[in-house]
Symmetry: D2
Subunit: 383 residues, 4 copies
């Protein structure tokens, strides 16, 4: 193995999965990880074939076994990427944390707030990295947006509008079982009680929280299932109240015909407004009150924070994989520091954590409660 690379394992992400391949590219892109072990499927044959296809040296049929075995090896993995359906996030993470292995876990953190809180407590006690892959916070201009808010360029935040629209579940594509993504994401036993809410609603929530540095105190929400026969929500709408008096709305839908992956955030403060659209991630719009809208780009903002999260010069577009790679890059920087007993470099600290995951579960929990109570305003736990 080359100098400076960390050894990575993966749980989940076998053939037919989408997010496993994405994690593998992301881990590789900045050359800080080498994928050496995996339990890519609960089906042993699929696990073996998937590992071979991905060029993974050590394939395990069982993730518990993998945690044990890797912990015992001198050249065992430094970190594990967990890319299973949601219901396994917490058990798998627990096993690897217990084995002293750093964790990079897909969102949502867990299938209940209690489960997530227990996991967070464990992670803190183990002193291992626990990164949660909220991809969109890896975009350089999302990080710059956060910086603009933090520096006060928007003034006092008044209004937050965030939305995440897709259409891939506009029809009952889970029926029949061929679309494996659709099957598990609409099955409460695998996805947890939140469908669209957990799958993309949490991304929207996290993006707003990440950029504004604020979490709502309370929300009034409604879940809905449009597609007949679906066992889980495919649509969520919510109104938000913040401690400082700010107001907001959050909308996520997987039946918005024509929408591909339309995650959009707008924030309005007393001094300026900003807007970001995930489908055009190479620009960020900033408009001072009474002034012209400015199209900010990575290269032009001259921001060390954005520069840390980019690889190519002005006008060379970056995309989703680069944002994802940024999470792995930051994870590597932090793992290096933890392994060496150093403080992690400040620029790596925007990586989303297990606490962000707990916060997302508080959001899910409050939406579920509010929706069940016909939209009653519900306080977020801990708020």
């Amino acid at each position: 193995m080359q100098h400076g690379k960390l050894r990575l394992g993966m749980v989940g992400g076998g053939q037919g999965a989408f997010i496993g391949a994405v994690h593998r590219i992301a881990a590789r892109l900045d050359d800080r990880f080498e994928l050496v072990a995996g339990a890519l499927s609960s089906d042993p044959e699929r696990a073996r074939a998937s590992a071979a296809e991905a060029g993974i040296a050590r394939s395990y049929a069982d993730w518990r076994e993998m945690a044990r075995a890797e912990a015992a090896r001198d050249d065992g993995i430094d970190a594990v990427a967990i890319v299973t359906p949601n219901h396994l996030h917490a058990p798998v993470a627990t096993a690897f944390l217990d084995a002293g292995i750093h964790v990079i876990c897909d969102k949502p953190l867990a299938v209940s707030l209690a489960e997530g809180e227990a996991l967070a407590q464990l992670a803190r006690s183990k002193g291992r990295l626990f990164a949660l892959t909220h991809t969109y916070s890896g975009y350089p201009l999302v990080r710059h947006a956060r910086e603009l808010v933090e520096r006060g360029e928007l003034g006092e935040i008044r209004v937050v509008q965030v939305e995440y629209a897709q259409d891939w579940l506009a029809e009952p594509v889970e029926a029949g079982g061929a679309n494996r993504q659709a099957v598990w994401r609409t099955d409460p036993a695998l996805a947890g009680p939140a469908g669209c809410l957990g799958d993309i609603g949490t991304h929207a929530y996290q993006l707003a929280a990440f950029v504004t540095g604020r979490r709502p105190d309370a929300l009034s929400a409604e879940l809905h299932t449009f597609v007949p026969g679906r066992r889980i929500d495919d649509h969520v709408q919510a109104m938000l109240r913040y401690a400082n008096g700010a107001r907001g709305m959050l909308w996520a839908s997987q039946v918005a015909s024509g929408a591909e992956n339309a995650l959009r955030l707008r924030v309005y403060g007393t001094k300026a407004g900003l807007a970001f659209d995930q489908e055009a991630p190479n620009e960020l719009w900033f408009t001072p009150l009474g002034g012209a809208a400015e199209r900010l780009t990575r290269a032009r903002v001259k921001s060390p924070i954005a520069a840390h999260a980019t690889r190519v010069p002005a006008g060379h577009p970056e995309g989703y994989l680069e944002a994802f790679a940024q999470l792995y890059k930051d994870a590597a920087l932090q793992i290096d520091a933890l392994n060496a007993g150093r403080a992690p470099p400040p620029e790596s600290l925007l990586l989303t954590t297990v606490d962000d995951g707990v916060d997302g579960l508080r959001f899910i929990d409050a939406v579920l409660k509010s929706s069940a109570a016909d939209g009653r305003w519900v306080k977020l736990a801990g708020a």
Copy 2:
């Protein structure tokens, strides 16, 4: 006076008003009206000076006197445009309807639902035209959008997202009194109990209703006032439920820093989605489920409905004044028909009416009630 022109009067719209001048251009643009009489201000001197400046032959200091006098003349006005602050809409309209004069009235229709319902009843009993100037329904592509929904091109409607963001009230510009627009629009005695809600929230509501042909059954809403000292709401957010199970959100704000006049509608059905942005009114986006987004333009849609509402060839942009003029053009077509005892031409029937005004007041009423009840779901009257 030239052949074929109707005689128009105007109440309100004196110097310093914005909407009066807009009405005058709109009435003139298609050459169907000549403005001959006016009571442009409650201040007699301002009324006289404003009328002279606008080239209006007969100036009145009082609108009651104007209604009486014009009704008595052989060459009296055919129609009156009411462009006063909201609290006078109903009284002035009542006076002119009683005088047998057609009415073209700014929105919102009245300052209470009861007042609006009485006015609608009066209008029906008089057999006069009562046009409400919801400008945005005059855009050819808004009308084409409605047609697309009606023809079933979107399938069953599932999701409605409508918003109207401005920033001109982000600061307390009403203080001091110099900004006359801001003064009356934030004064409950003149604007009625709904600030942002009545001023632009109703436009958003009406646009969604116009295009979808559907009104929500119930809503959960919250009004908010951001600017200290302001006596009326400057922000409204609401969730909507429709009879067919559709869901929606409505947001209107006058403190959204950076927003000029950002009225936007998105509608998603089982077969397709569409999007319209008032600030780019020469395009309408239509995306079939699984297909490419199409940028529809007036000339390319080859729609008689759009053609009726346009004046220039492909690629020559039209704007707000043309949309406004369309309302006057349709009003002229209907008045001609009413005067002649004919049925109005079908293409003129998209003009918004006193019933649309009542519907807007039902929306306002429900929002006020829901907001007062901490966002409780409130049924719309008549729903």
Copy 3:
């Protein structure tokens, strides 16, 4: 007639014409003209019917007669709008100038440079207004762009890129004669020797000259006719050289499938670049070297020059008719001043003139010569 309105006549623009109706709306929009006389067609019956339809009091079968008769009346027209095919621009303008009547003439000024120069000399000698309707210079943001260049915000101009693409002549629509627009615009006897070049190439040329305040010294050009059987060019491409060393390109096409009316200008200087797109005229893009692109809007630029050319508040889009109306408004301001022996108000002086028309003919002349000489660099007359 109302106080303050000027009496307008019109030559050309009968039924079936596009530009006549546009001129009539434009003249009416700002309420400074009343259209009272016309010779709308060379066909007497069509002339009469067209005048009646347009509500024109005095219809003439012949424009020579109209010039004589109107000059002789106490209430004769103040100005004439010439909206005929190109070959009549100069003869008609000459007749009205000789009769002491102000002229508002469509572009191109004439069908040859010599004809145009004679006309310019006549106009100067008569002391009458001669306005040329290069519509696009009526947009507030085009005027603001010019102001930005003039103020030095772009630094020294280096590169000019201008283009005007349409597709309405992509097929031989002139065949058969039903499309009257296409028939005369592709007939050298009516349109002059320049087809696409004269029809839209001159607009592109003029827009670049208007904004930059610079005319090229020399050009290398090529005309082309794509549609079989067409008797005139439908495509022009040119390279430009300016006195200060700047370079440029100009492209105009009427066979660019998919293009509606895509007139676009980009100017790059040592300090900044700007971009304007006629199909989105409510925004102007300005990008300082090394900085963020700024989306300038009418309301936000806080420019008296833009304010003079707008009628509605921020975010209420204006379009082609408003730009056209601006030319009439400026013409009225200048005619008032000429009639009163006053200097015209400075803000009215951006109106394009007969000299701009001569300049456009120099451009046409140079393109024709260069194209005939296989693209040899040709100096513009007077350069």
Copy 4:
């Protein structure tokens, strides 16, 4: 080394270079190459340090030595990536071809047409892969655009408009020597006789040729140097003529203030037009004559050609690195086939080749000749 990976070497791309790092990420992204050897700099110390930083096992101080040594090893490199300044492309490529090693070379192919032709002949005689990294042809939607043209969806091609604007050389940034990129790219001894022309003009030329499947017969061009003291062109403009009568324009500039990396292509045929903008590579615009513009996206075009060049689902943006990686992926597919004596998979054949490089040199050659002859039309060699 893992199963299935090819061994890659690199010449050039040491510390301070931009394109070397890009090649390394691109080679890694799809996991088909392992970078094991390099001569990253002509400065031995820099070569060593750069190799260590990049995790390259075998560092050479000299590329001739590297070619010899690697050819002699059992585990020697399969392919070499050449990322030096232009003047070394041909000598280095020659050395590695002579050693029987596949070549992946940056553009332009060489610093003269003669040099390029000799290299192409050598490559053909050796039966090794010679890939030229015209990155932009790796975008899935560029490939889909080519497919649309090939399938006849545009009809007969009439007009080609291509441009590439940047502003990073708007000022004399090469002065002083700190900006290493600027230094070599403006030094004729290193870059060859073509500055902007060779650096980005060739990209524009190649993109147009790639998509349309047509090369111009002849061109009329002008080079210009705007920045005082610069020893090479920083601006090129050209008019194009095609064999089928099509016309075109090409513009490239490195002094276009405000432009980042604005490579844009528009193609108009008798049936439709299309447009692509490198800065928004996740969409392709297609407009049938008389129809609505369609925004095509990777996922929605359902094209095997686009699918082969993409890695993530609908709405997850891809960028420049992914396009670059595609070239490496296709190279790997072809090298595998060559090594196995199989025909390469058809989907890999869009990779740009040494012949494309020669074609680009013919373009450069013709521009240099035409510009030197004051824009005389010059036939492209071989046309």
